[in-house]
């Protein structure tokens, strides 16, 4: 690939602060506004002009999980040029790891935790070994981070070592998530088969359906998203980030200069998988279900279109894109459920044909043109 959308800025990047003062202000303001929204749900009674429904809060929390996943995907696709069609797998693995903890805390009416029903149906007497310690919150979160990270590391090592790239890599990631989906659909795998995990009750002892718990989950997601944004900014602004962009723009030239891209690609690939896993883990308690369809190739490729719509190779783009596409989806599927797939298909086609740099690219173009007119 030869186009270098950032070439003009690269020279200026050398000694720039992490974010400009204006950007810091915007980030803080946006975070603050988003953080205040659940208060409008908790403080004001329904019917009040400033009341925001619990549904809306849950929806926004879900969108922020998607935004986190899109940010993770953008790190590999937008910055390192590695198109993954299997990020839904990491998302779902994080979700399943957290879901295991939630399933261990079902607590019947008598407060005793029983084994999930799908295990009784298999007439399993005790939890399989990979469910060990999942009743501890900290262990479950260790799994949330390690399972997607480790899988990504091993898979990435073999794939990048043999220089699988471009569409080949995309296809293989798609096959990976497809195979995992088939595996999780089996009841004997021990993750609830095609029903997955659902009907959660408590998290850390709090009722999972209570408005205050939902607000807390929302804030946790917001914090994770803001921190991930800053982390991604650190990564992409560093020298490492510059090497990644070189991988994206011309991996062979980089190789000829004497770099070995393997370590760089592996780092960003694993980091991306971990972030995606965290997004999945935050997603599950908020929507209350995780099942193998999250791993279907469709879901992973939809994540890609969030990034493309928002603008890849920018950090704010995927967040905007995830919000925009999912907002549209929510509206379409309730107003014209028949036509959502047409709309989604059109987004895919039109964004790739007309908006290769996404919404952010479009805005930048407009701003630049206006400046030219002014000058």
């Amino acid at each position: 690939m030869t186009h270098l959308p950032h070439r003009d800025r690269l020279a200026a990047l050398a000694h720039r602060p992490l974010l400009s003062p204006a950007a810091w202000t915007a980030l803080l303001a946006a975070t603050l506004v988003m953080a205040l929204l659940p208060l409008a749900n908790l403080v004001f009674a329904p019917g009040h002009a400033l009341h925001i429904s619990g549904y809306m809060i849950a929806l926004l929390g879900k969108f922020m999980c998607f935004a986190l996943a899109a940010l993770a995907l953008d790190l590999v696709w937008g910055y390192a040029g590695i198109l993954s069609l299997g990020h839904g797998l990491f998302f779902a693995l994080g979700g399943y790891a957290h879901g295991m903890y939630l399933m261990r805390n079902l607590g019947g009416p008598d407060g005793v935790n029983r084994m999930p029903e799908f295990m009784s149906f298999l007439s399993w007497k005790e939890y399989p070994w990979y469910w060990a310690f999942t009743d501890h919150f900290a262990w479950a979160w260790l799994l949330v981070i390690c399972v997607p990270g480790l899988l990504a590391f091993v898979f990435g090592y073999f794939a990048f070592r043999s220089r699988i790239k471009g569409v080949y890599f995309s296809i293989i990631t798609q096959a990976l998530t497809f195979a995992a989906m088939l595996l999780f659909f089996r009841n004997e795998t021990g993750f609830g088969g095609n029903n997955g995990f659902t009907a959660f009750r408590t998290i850390l002892g709090f009722d999972i359906t209570a408005a205050s718990t939902r607000a807390a989950l929302y804030w946790a997601t917001l914090a994770a998203l803001a921190l991930a944004f800053i982390l991604a900014r650190v990564v992409t602004q560093s020298k490492l980030g510059r090497v990644l962009m070189a991988v994206r723009d011309s991996e062979n030239r980089l190789r000829f200069i004497g770099y070995d891209p393997l370590g760089f690609k592996l780092f960003v690939w694993t980091l991306s998988a971990i972030l995606c896993g965290i997004a999945g883990a935050l997603y599950v308690p908020q929507v209350g279900i995780i099942n193998p369809s999250e791993m279907s190739p469709q879901n992973s490729i939809e994540m890609v279109i969030w990034v493309a719509t928002g603008g890849r190779g920018t950090l704010i783009g995927p967040i905007i894109g995830a919000g925009a596409v999912n907002g549209l989806k929510t509206w379409f599927t309730s107003a014209f459920p028949e036509y959502w797939l047409y709309a989604l298909g059109l987004i895919f086609v039109l964004v790739t044909l007309l908006l290769p740099q996404g919404i952010v690219g479009l805005v930048r173009q407009i701003v630049r043109r206006r400046k030219e007119v002014d000058a």
């Binding site: 690939m1 569409v167 995309s170 296809i171 293989i172 036509y339 797939l341 987004i347 790739t352 044909l353």
Partner: protein, 549 residues
């Protein structure tokens, strides 16, 4: 034959035959002289309630080579045996009409007659007894079925019956079946030599139905004792078991090979068009699966049209669907290429996203037009059924047709690529697009035509798939990942790569499946592909070159 309907048809045929010939006249000269004639006293327990006595009577009836006995058994099995007011047994011939079970005299059915009830245990006894009496039927096919049924029986009392049947039987097939039945029963014979001969005879049949009995003879029970006392009989039985197992192994292998080849053909058909477009433009066409689906729906529409206008030619609608599917999907492909894909050359990842969007639109379009439910596409009569080979392996005609069809399509593509001007251009562009452009190859038009060709082949594949499984809007999704795998494994630029990759994936899949289940087989194949690609990143048959991107 386990089909009860078949039994019923057989029994009614036999019954009518007997009635037509008149009561008491043997349909076939059976040596029944040594048995006393049926009398009312002998039949009396049948109408009673003592199950053991009834069972005894039934087995006695079964051992008679006597049409009168057969007639009573048929009636018992069909539920047309009645007991009259004077305890006499009557057989209903038509509503209101009956004949006497003992002497065959026709009469009207008395109003107070009750059906003789048959429970499951009795029903089994009746079936086995009937099998015996059917050995003397007129139609050799009825006799063959009866002999085959008898070979599964363990009732020693039938041995004499089989011997009698063997004395008069002329037809070779029936004789062989009778000998097998005889050998099966002879396993219980008191003479070791007879048992040994029987074990050897059963081993020669290669029939797994006898495996359990033979294995019981050759292997020690849990307490270490042998059911069979004679060493030589045990050895013969063990040899027979081994022979049966070897044969079963062969059948299983042949089955895996056949199903593997047919799966490989499906993969090949699905992946061939993909490989052409990928090789030519470096574009993975995510809408390829939907082109398969369109091909299948064209088949459906052709079928509906034929049913409406040419019902006499229904058997050949598939042949008419082939060109229709080819041209329609080729047109769809060319339109896609001109409107979307050609703007994205050099940006393969973007093409992948755009074609995915197209696939969503096509899929939803088909849902809007035909509904979300699967549509029904029937096999033409010459494609349903199959041949049985090796005594147990069924090769279905539709799978055979797919294999042949895949070979024909490959031959067609090979000819097109290697012996036409278009093919020459396609190969030139695949090797070096810029150089081909420089020497005057009209790359734009060739791209369009080649994309149309790839899409058309997908349409042909869709016709084939419609004959194998469900046709619904999601049809393409089921094949897309697998066909990508074929392309990734086979590499681009050579037809041979795709062919070999498709057939090896199909066969390996079918050979792993029985041991690990379908899901784990898929995962193992994925791992295998990742490992192969480690060694050969551009696929198995990538053309060697020094170019970098």
């Amino acid at each position: 034959m386990k089909n009860p309907a078949f039994f019923r048809v057989c029994s009614s045929i036999v019954l009518m035959l007997l009635l037509a010939l008149g009561a008491g006249v043997a349909a076939r000269a059976a040596p029944a002289a040594d048995a006393p004639a049926i009398d009312a006293a002998m039949l009396a327990p049948l109408a009673g309630s003592d199950t053991d006595a009834r069972l005894d009577t039934i087995s006695q009836l079964g051992m008679r080579a006597d049409p009168g006995a057969a007639r009573i058994l048929e009636a018992l099995s069909a539920g047309t045996l009645y007991v009259g007011p004077q305890e006499q047994l009557l057989i209903q011939t038509s509503p209101g009409q009956a004949i006497d079970a003992v002497n065959g005299q026709a009469m009207t059915m008395p109003a107070q007659a009750d059906t003789v009830m048959v429970n499951n245990r009795l029903r089994r006894a009746v079936q086995s007894a009937l099998a015996g009496s059917r050995l003397f039927a007129d139609d050799w096919r009825v006799r063959l079925t009866a002999a085959n049924n008898l070979s599964r029986s363990n009732d020693l009392a039938q041995l004499s019956l089989i011997e009698r049947a063997l004395q008069v039987e002329q037809r070779d097939e029936v004789r062989r079946a009778l000998e097998v039945a005889q050998a099966n029963l002879a396993l219980q014979s008191p003479q070791p030599d007879a048992r040994r001969a029987a074990a050897e005879a059963l081993g020669k049949t290669r029939n797994p139905a006898f495996r359990t009995a033979l294995a019981n003879l050759s292997q020690p029970a849990s307490d270490g004792t042998f059911a069979e006392s004679d060493e030589r009989v045990r050895e013969a039985a063990a040899r027979a078991v081994a022979a049966i197992d070897r044969h079963q192994q062969t059948v299983a292998w042949a089955g895996h090979l056949f199903y593997g080849l047919s799966l490989g053909s499906v993969l090949l058909l699905a992946a061939l068009g993909l490989a052409i477009t990928f090789g030519l433009m470096g574009v993975i066409n995510m809408a390829h699966g939907e082109l398969l689906m369109i091909g299948a729906y064209v088949t459906y529409v052709t079928q509906v049209l034929f049913r409406q206008w040419l019902p006499g030619w229904m058997d050949w609608y598939v042949l008419a669907a082939l060109p229709a599917a080819f041209f329609i999907t080729a047109m769809v492909g060319m339109v896609l290429e001109r409107t979307v894909i050609r703007w994205l050359y050099g940006r393969p990842l973007e093409t992948l996203l755009a074609t995915w969007g197209i696939s969503l639109i096509l899929m939803q379009g088909v849902r809007t037009l035909f509904g979300a439910q699967n549509v029904e596409v029937s096999n033409p009569s010459w494609m349903s059924g199959g041949v049985t080979v090796l005594g147990g392996l069924v090769l279905t005609y539709n799978r055979m047709a797919i294999i042949v069809f895949a070979v024909l399509v490959v031959a067609f593509v090979w000819l097109l690529l290697n012996h036409t001007r278009l093919g020459l251009f396609v190969r030139a562009i695949t090797q070096n697009r810029r150089m081909a452009d420089c020497v005057g190859v009209p790359t734009g038009r060739v791209d369009m035509l080649a994309f149309g060709l790839g899409a058309g082949i997908a349409g042909l594949a869709g016709v084939a798939l419609s004959q194998l499984g469900n046709v619904g809007p999601d049809l393409g999704r089921a094949y897309i990942v697998d066909s990508f795998m074929v392309v990734v494994l086979g590499g681009v630029g050579q037809l041979a790569g795709t062919v070999i990759a498709a057939f090896s994936l199909g066969t390996i899949n079918k050979f792993i499946e029985p041991y690990s289940g379908a899901v784990l087989a898929k995962i193992m194949i994925l791992v295998l592909i990742v490992l192969v690609v480690q060694k050969r990143p551009q696929g198995l048959f990538a053309p060697r070159g020094r170019s970098v991107e």
